[in-house]
């Protein structure tokens, strides 16, 4: 088991301005409104969960925030600056880190090299055709790996890591540009219950310590109700509920379209 470093919650008490503001986001595919006027915001150091039925528009919404899709309307502000419709790599440079539903790492590189790659890119050094990439930013990479508990495995190839460890590497990579906002698409999909709790606890600690705003989608209600500061619910492209985990859980509308009776998803 990896030791999860306990980080002190040294957040500036009240982060007044939200890190992420989404206003009236719109997207249609062939006449179908996938996302229809969605607005919300995320504060620094807090975790916002985005939930909803399959096909509700979560992924579409997500992809408009990280730049993979261009919205038809509405705007996305990062720390007050518009990032609407910018490309993923530009969005990243402005301070948005992300993890993928299906883990995305560079398999021909070691764990450390994966993080070094992100650090080299952050430092603007990728065009250099000389000098060994392996020698760059070693200390910074190791510090990030220590933070997620992956330092012991720094020399291993990413292609042979256990699933939960890969997720940690992704987290370290996503933190390499010192992001203000972290986007996590189904971060615990395919993980065992205990691994899920550990990964999200780690994320919450780091977010609180560094004042990072976290937006994540999730199907595991245990994770959602344990680790989110607030929850928004999408259905057919529209925001149907917004509140604390407890408020959302009690919302009859949410129970009807999404949560159901709770018989199969764990003991609520």
């Amino acid at each position: 088991m990896n030791a999860v470093p306990q980080l002190q919650a040294a957040v500036p008490a009240a982060a007044q301005d939200p890190v992420l503001v989404v206003r009236d986001l719109q997207k249609s595919f062939g006449g179908v409104r996938a996302v229809d006027g969605v607005s919300f915001s995320v504060q620094a150091g807090t975790m916002l969960a985005l939930i909803g039925p399959n096909g509700a528009g979560k992924t579409t919404c997500f992809n408009m925030l990280n730049g993979q899709l261009r919205p038809d309307g509405g705007e996305v502000l990062l720390a007050g600056r518009p990032i609407t419709g910018m490309k993923p790599r530009v969005v990243w440079r402005m301070g948005v880190g992300r993890t993928f539903q299906i883990t995305a790492t560079f398999t021909s590189m070691t764990v450390r090299e994966n993080v070094q790659m992100a650090l080299i890119s952050h430092a603007g050094g990728i065009w250099s055709p000389f000098g060994r990439a392996r020698d760059r930013h070693v200390e910074a990479a190791d510090a990030l790996l220590a933070q997620v508990g992956m330092l012991e495995q720094a020399e291993r190839a990413c292609g042979v890591l256990a699933y939960g460890d890969l997720k940690r590497v992704e987290l370290a990579v996503a933190l390499a540009n010192q992001p203000r906002l972290l986007l996590m698409d189904e971060p615990t999909a395919g993980m065992a219950p205990r691994e899920r709790i550990e990964l999200m606890a780690l994320t919450a600690d780091i977010a609180a310590a560094k004042g990072i705003a976290v937006l994540f989608t999730e199907h595991d209600m245990d994770v959602v109700f344990t680790h989110s500061d607030s929850v928004i619910v999408l259905d057919r492209g529209r925001l149907i509920a917004h509140g604390t985990a407890e408020e959302v859980r009690r919302d009859p509308n949410v129970r009807a379209v999404y949560l159901g009776s709770g018989a199969t998803s764990g003991g609520h």
């Binding site: 039925p53 999909a189 065992a192 199907h219 379209v257 018989a263 998803s265």
Partner: protein, 236 residues
């Protein structure tokens, strides 16, 4: 009563990795068996190996007394094993009706016979979108379509790989009802699952897989009562 499916000493490699290491279990006719274990334990590979999609390197798969290991997937399907993959894999450019017609096989005497009309009674949603392309359906609808599609082959045994993964809780409830309905029809169902609650609702027995071997088999009640097994292999 003879066993429907008997697996013994199953070995399978995926590229360089030795995934199944002498795995074995037995399934009875008419039961729902939950294959449980961590991600990467070998659940999906077991299903693919039964289906012939991953050629077993050793061991035997016996279905109704007939050895099926080493046969082509289509032959195994024709013997009466239906496979529903975890990532849905509907034919996105084919309509609902066309998706069903691809899998259509002649009726057999010892298994329920399915027609599109009977399936639409089981999945009313699908009946309302017969001409819709698979790609234009929601995730939950697609999941139902893949099950309906597999039933068109009139199988005796259905392999359901991670049926609850990535679905909204309310759809997961529908899924549980569907599995119980199939059982009521007399079908045997093998599901792979990480969600103990879900498995507890639908399965009669559980087999726990870890590092390519079966570590525990027993009824769902026995599993619920055995905390040591649950914490060791399921990380609950």
């Amino acid at each position: 009563m003879s066993a429907l499916l008997e697996i013994a000493g199953l070995d399978a490699y995926y590229g360089r990795a030795h995934i199944l290491q002498g795995l074995g279990f037995t399934m009875n006719r008419g039961e729902v068996l939950a294959l449980m274990g961590r991600n990467g334990a070998g659940k999906s590979t077991t299903m693919k190996a039964i289906m012939g999609l991953v050629p077993p390197a050793g061991g035997t798969v016996t279905f109704e007394g007939r050895a099926v290991q080493g046969r082509e997937p289509f032959e195994i399907a024709r013997l009466g094993i239906g496979y529903v993959p975890e990532d849905r894999r509907v034919f996105s450019e084919l309509s609902v009706m066309e998706n069903l017609s691809v899998a259509q096989r002649p009726a057999r005497s010892d298994a329920p016979h399915w027609t599109p009309e009977r399936l639409f009674a089981l999945f009313p949603n699908l009946g309302r979108m017969r001409d819709r392309p698979g790609g234009a359906m929601s995730g939950g609808e697609q999941q139902m379509l893949t099950i309906a599609r597999t039933l068109m082959g009139n199988p005796k045994l259905v392999l359901l790989d991670e049926p609850s993964e990535g679905l909204a809780p309310v759809i997961v409830e529908d899924m549980a009802k569907t599995i119980l309905a199939l059982k009521a029809e007399g079908l045997s169902v093998l599901i792979s699952e990480q969600n103990l609650h879900f498995a507890g609702n639908v399965a009669d027995r559980a087999a726990i897989i870890e590092k390519g071997m079966i570590r525990f088999t027993g009824t769902m009640d026995e599993l619920k009562g055995n905390e040591a097994v649950r914490t060791q292999y399921l990380s609950v």
